[in-house]
């Protein structure tokens, strides 16, 4: 057991656990942050997708000891909104297209979509269907068609 420190949704946090504990369980079981969901624990379903220093990653597959004190971990609860807005443009697009069904995968879907659009913008590219094809997040309710619409809509506002 050791104490690990990092920046979670803008706040410095500490958690005492074994270093090999995957970050997902530190977040959910020890820190009480429930936005990232368990769907497989195998880095496959992507339901737990969060951001580390602005990049998408899956905390189910990262030992807590791999997280540095200066790392900024962002869960859906801490997804930064744009100026003067309560919600991020991706969340607004999700509402506009009423994307969610059960909602279990959607925090991960939104976090992955935000990272994808940010990456494309950094490369100066417009989002295309082939980019959305690269998202591995599973939605067992099958909301894929509306996810496509919402991402394209949000990309125009990001």
């Amino acid at each position: 057991m050791a104490t690990y420190t990092f920046i979670l949704n803008g706040e410095q946090v500490s958690v005492e656990c074994d270093g090999e504990l995957r970050l997902l369980w530190a977040l959910r079981d020890l820190l009480g942050v429930h936005g990232p969901k368990y769907g497989c624990g195998l880095d496959v379903c992507k339901a737990c997708t969060c951001h580390i220093n602005g990049k998408a990653f899956n905390p189910c597959s990262v030992p807590v000891s791999d997280i540095q004190a200066t790392d900024r971990i962002t869960t859906i609860e801490g997804l930064p909104a744009t100026v003067d807005e309560q919600l991020h443009p991706m969340q607004q697009a999700w509402l506009k297209y009423d994307v969610a069904q059960c909602g279990y995968c959607q925090p991960g879907q939104i976090m992955a979509a935000v990272a994808l659009v940010n990456e494309l913008k950094a490369e100066g590219r417009q989002i295309a269907d082939a980019d959305i094809d690269s998202l591995r997040n599973i939605c067992r309710c099958g909301t894929y068609a509306r996810i496509r619409e919402a991402i394209v809509d949000a990309a125009a506002n990001m």
């Binding site: 079981d29 936005g35 195998l42 496959v44 009423d98 269907d129």
Partner: protein, 784 residues
Amino acid sequence: MPEVGVGEARAATNGISRRRFIGYLIAAPTLVAAADLRSAPPADASVATVQPVDFYDLTDLLTDAANLTASLITVTINSDGTASFALPRAEVGQGITTAIAMVIADELGLPLDKVDITLSDARPELEFNQLTGGSNSIHALYDQVRVAAAIARGQLALTAARQLEAPLPKLILKDGVITAPDGSSLSYGSLTSAAAVRDTQAVLAQLKPASQQTLVGTPQPRIDALQIVTGTKQFAMDLEVPGALPTMVCRPPTINGAALAILNEAQVSAMSGVTDVAIIPHTQFVPGGVAVRATTFGQCIDAIRALQVQWAPGGAAAKSDADVLEDLIGAELPMTPALGQTLDERFTFYFRPGDPLETNCAVADVRPGSAEIWSAMKSPIYFQETVAGILGLPVSSVTAHVTQGGGSFGRHLFADAAFEAASISKAIGKPVKLMWHRTDNFRQGRVHPMCTSRVRVTYLGSNVLAFDQRHTSVATDFTHGLGEILSATLGDLPEGDYLGYSQSVFTLTANVPYNFGPVTQLLNEVYHPPGSLFNTSSVRNIYSPEVTVAKELMVDRVANAMGQDAYQFRRSFVRDPRMLAVLDAAAKAAGWGKPMAPHTAQGIGIHHEYKGYAACVVEIDCTPQTVSRVVENGYTGPRVTRVTYAVDVGLPINPLGLEAQMIGGIMDGIAQALTYSLHLEDGYFLEGSWDDAYYTREWNSPPNSPPSEGVQVIIMPANQSEPGGAGELGVAATMAAVANAYARATGTMPTAFPINHNLPLGFTPLPTVPPIPQSPTDGLQEEF
């Protein structure tokens, strides 16, 4: 919201409605109202045809059973002006909380956000009225909640008329306020105490006519959408029940195996964070194995992987796909003698997972004199009554909370996780937060039963003379009955499930929507009782996808044999004008018959169920460059590039939600036709991850941007007074259309599903011991 006068509503209702509704004002401190639908007349009989389902179907059965206790379903008006309703169904993403809130708000004259919907705990007195299944919730509840809300509205108006000293017909009810002609007004909240009654009394409900409904029929977003996108929607594993620590189960290497002994209990008990290790016996209700409780789920995974357990094998230990297929073919009922030229084919449908994205899970706190359990249960009364017996408690000492579910697709008709959590909590004497590992969900969870469906079409010239279908299936488990213990017990009798439920459900759902002369559709099942070999459930959905795919492939084939176009052939044989309308709508919007490039094709499929009609046209791309796309650790294959889906549910409550249900069903139909199955080998399923079991992923779903046209859902205008079911209505027609499109694109009619099932395995199966894989550690290398 338009203004509604109570008096006018009464006159209009009397003039239009064919049905009179009675309900109750319930004795309570505030206004509480309920419906009485026991004496409501049945819906108008359909035109006579040859099939039982035309007169009485599964939807009728479930609704008639539910209506017996409609008077116990209450709408309450609160002093803050809101209305509240404890929904006696599970919300698992299908959107019934939103649809029911719309119905109540509409009938009461309240804004949608003033209606608070919660999920009701198990209420045994509701009997058959707390089962979420058969795509029946909206059909069964529409009248129940509408009548209750109308009675509440009527009582509010009467009370306001007295207090405002104004004539009842002149009152205006709008947005939760009742206004008299002189401008004086009272809010619903201020009236609710005065409107309450001391003794329950029967009253006649004055329903708003359709013309005055302002929410029903309009697109409304989900009432929990904001919670979902901000990550605050609570599922069972998000609950903080004091002392309920993470708990998982080490499961056997064969389906329904049982733990005999733990060989290293002391070592595992001493592992970091572990508080308890205990054998949980395998029973009819509890899958079981060795339970581990720890501070975190990560420590549970470590402990399960370290456990050394002696196992007894399950009943299916020697079975593989080929063995089951042989048993199914051997049990196929004989065809009647043919009296003409025939086309005859048998189709095979392999096991499919019943996995929502949220794995099986439940929180349980079992104490010496009481028990409290939280889980996304679709049959909570059955659970409460049965688990009370298992725990040795009176039913009234067990509280069963229904949590929001992360999907179900029929899976949660069985509360396996809740039974297991209760058993573990009792065994170790502590609260538990039980979660299944994904690999366990695939390998030990409930599956759609493997089956064959043989179809023979007898024809002469351009006429079909007879249609015969012999459906043979691994037993589907219906031991949940109608959701409570009495009807469920029938399913436990020898052959009771088979005779009492399987045949009934098959007869009440299977149909041929064409004028094909004499039709026979017969079911036989193997491996009874259900659960003896395989754990099954009505997952996406009951018999319909397979029955319809086999039927629709043979419809294309007979059309081809007659030299007719698949769409025109269907047009000339469908026997219901509503079916003809959806068929024409889908074909027209899809541009049926347009030129298609080599290795691509359109396909068509239709389906009738749940009082609804559906027609689907898809375009499929089977070109070599598409089929050979490479996605790391993913399956690509043929891609459905466009879906046009026309649906008639009679009375759409929320078109936005209905469209969502169809899109979800479409994605399932694509998966079930092309990719999604389980391979059975020596008593266990090879799939253990979403990268093994190929449910539709983004790269399999239709692209959206030009030249693709993505998914289009056409909702037919309201043409009935009652809403049909939607939950599973998108699946069967899509699966059939995809199968037909594949046949046309490749020139080969597929006879085994999913179409990729018998290709070389595309993944390396995970080991069975230990039963679950360790989580990777390289997640930071994957970031983007």
